[in-house]
Amino acid sequence: MRSIARVLLAPAVGSLFLWMIVPLAMTIYFSVIRYNLMEPGEHAFVGLENFRYFITDPSFATAIVNTLLLLGSVILITVVLGILIALLVNEPFPGQGIVRVLLISPFFVMPTVNALLWKHMMMNPIYGVLAQVWRAFGLTPIDWLSDWPLLSVIIMVAWQWLPFAILIFITSLQGMNREQLEAARMDGATWFQQFRFLVLPHLARSIAVVVMIEMIFLLSVFAEISTTTAGGPGDASTNIAYLIFKQALLGFDVGVASAGALFAVLLANIAAAFLIRLVGKNMER
């Protein structure tokens, strides 16, 4: 039995191991040589030169801050609004089914469509929908992508992931013990007390799941940036993923990009270690 179990496990473990180790080994190798696609010739060993270059690049600090800001704000927005909206649509009301379908839809919109839709039709400072709304209130329309590039990207990504959070919280709320809530209400618990002491603890596990899944996908947001702001203006909306991409495919500097990639892997591992703790605790059954 043991050996059969191992045979069954082998393809998955083997292919994932290759998928991890081959790129990693190559990245480590590239990161210590001079390797620029525009400068053919020898790939001289340069030691940690590429790392130094990547880390002292002024864009680097900006990119880290942007990555964390993007991650943190989107998680915060989706969890808070997600819980509120899930509570709002949880009890039956006319058209509940349709409302749920409408709410979940943005999650299935692919990132490139999401990006172009918001960039042009929503955020265009002259013709865009938001500009029309601003004007309706007598305000001067905002040039979102030029003046608030990172915020624009956060809005797009949050719009995509809010439905996901809502969906998970709705599912979790439906498993709540109604009698307990009823009893609390009888005892005169206010809405806020019910929320604080019954609903929120019940949602703890699903909040952990939302945070974990979003972290996996948000650390490497790419399409929303590359199709809208291209990281700009300047580095205002460049995250780590996009910075590495810029070095590799736009700057043709494979060496520096690889050093950056190793850094991203390190960052991901720190996040992973942190998350696995969190989730490990929450998912024990």
Partner: protein, 278 residues
């Protein structure tokens, strides 16, 4: 206001419904706007204030097909997402089965390690994967995309299937084994029927993720194996200024998967939460 009386309760319900509908319409509005714009002429599309009543035209949709061979990209999207999902399930299911029913000392560690590979940002592997694909002449092929999609979804697949297999009571398996069922019979006649829901939700989720995947499709493909995600990115400029055509292309790109998602949302939740939220 007193919400305990009957009129009070009715007023409360009305307020709650109105609020729920308002929120839903706000979140759905961008999609609705895009859908409506795809039936406008370019002039109507950028009219300020926006026009909502007009004679719809299908010109934009025919333009999209003529300009960029929508059907080719749609075919690529369909092939890459379906094939990568099926192959992924064939590799992930035995592994999940093995770990769920024959757990060893290192099972937990292996599971955590698999999840940690998913945390690696794709961009970290971009250059090596690009170089490998280039040297094997696999750039801009559906084959390369299938392999990459499959591998990047594999950790999630194993995790989800594992948690669903874990829900099957081991007693049932023991009973089957007592009756002398072989491993294959056991898998086919006991596990497969019991875990069908879990397998379906895993497959559905990976299908959606692969269909919407943008990073690898943008970086590994060009005119030949491009998926819909890459096609839309090519509209970023200068056609981005032509809202009606951009909208038509976008609607065509997302319609299949959005409709698909509506019908399978329940299964998707189960999948995405590893069955941890019920």
């Amino acid at each position: 206001m007193d919400f305990t009386t009957e009129t009070g309760a009715r007023v409360a319900l009305a307020i709650r419904s109105a609020a729920a509908w308002l929120v839903a319409l706000i979140l759905f509005f961008p999609i609705l706007f895009m859908l409506v714009t795809s039936f406008k002429t370019e002039l109507q599309a950028i009219a300020v204030p926006s026009i909502w009543i007009f004679a719809p035209t299908l010109d934009n949709f025919t333009h999209v097909q003529e300009r960029s061979d929508y059907l080719l990209y749609a075919k690529n999207s369909l092939i890459t997402s379906v094939v990568s999902t099926i192959v992924g399930l064939l590799i992930a299911a035995p592994a999940a089965y093995s770990m769920a029913f024959f757990p060893g000392k290192r099972t937990k560690q292996i599971l955590m390690w698999m999840l940690s590979t998913k945390m690696m940002p794709a961009v970290g592997a971009l250059v090596p994967v690009y170089v490998i694909a280039q040297s094997l002449h696999l750039l801009d092929t559906t084959f390369a995309l299938v392999v990459v999609f499959m591998l990047s979804n594999l950790p999630l697949m194993v995790w989800m299937l594992y948690s669903h297999f874990k829900d099957i009571p081991p007693e049932i398996l023991e009973a089957a084994r007592m009756d002398g069922a072989s491993l294959l019979t056991e898998f086919r006649h006991v596990i497969l029927p019991l875990a069908m829901g879990g397998i379906a939700s895993t497959g559905l989720l990976c299908l959606v993720l692969a269909w919407n995947e943008a990073f690898w499709s943008l970086n590994l493909t060009a005119a030949h194996a491009g998926t819909l995600a890459a096609l839309i990115a090519s509209y970023s400029s200068p056609e981005g200024l032509f809202w009606a055509k951009l909208s038509a292309a976008s609607v065509l790109a997302i319609a299949p998967i959005v409709v698909f998602g509506w019908f399978s949302q329940k299964q998707l939740v189960q999948g995405l939460t590893f069955g941890a939220v019920k």
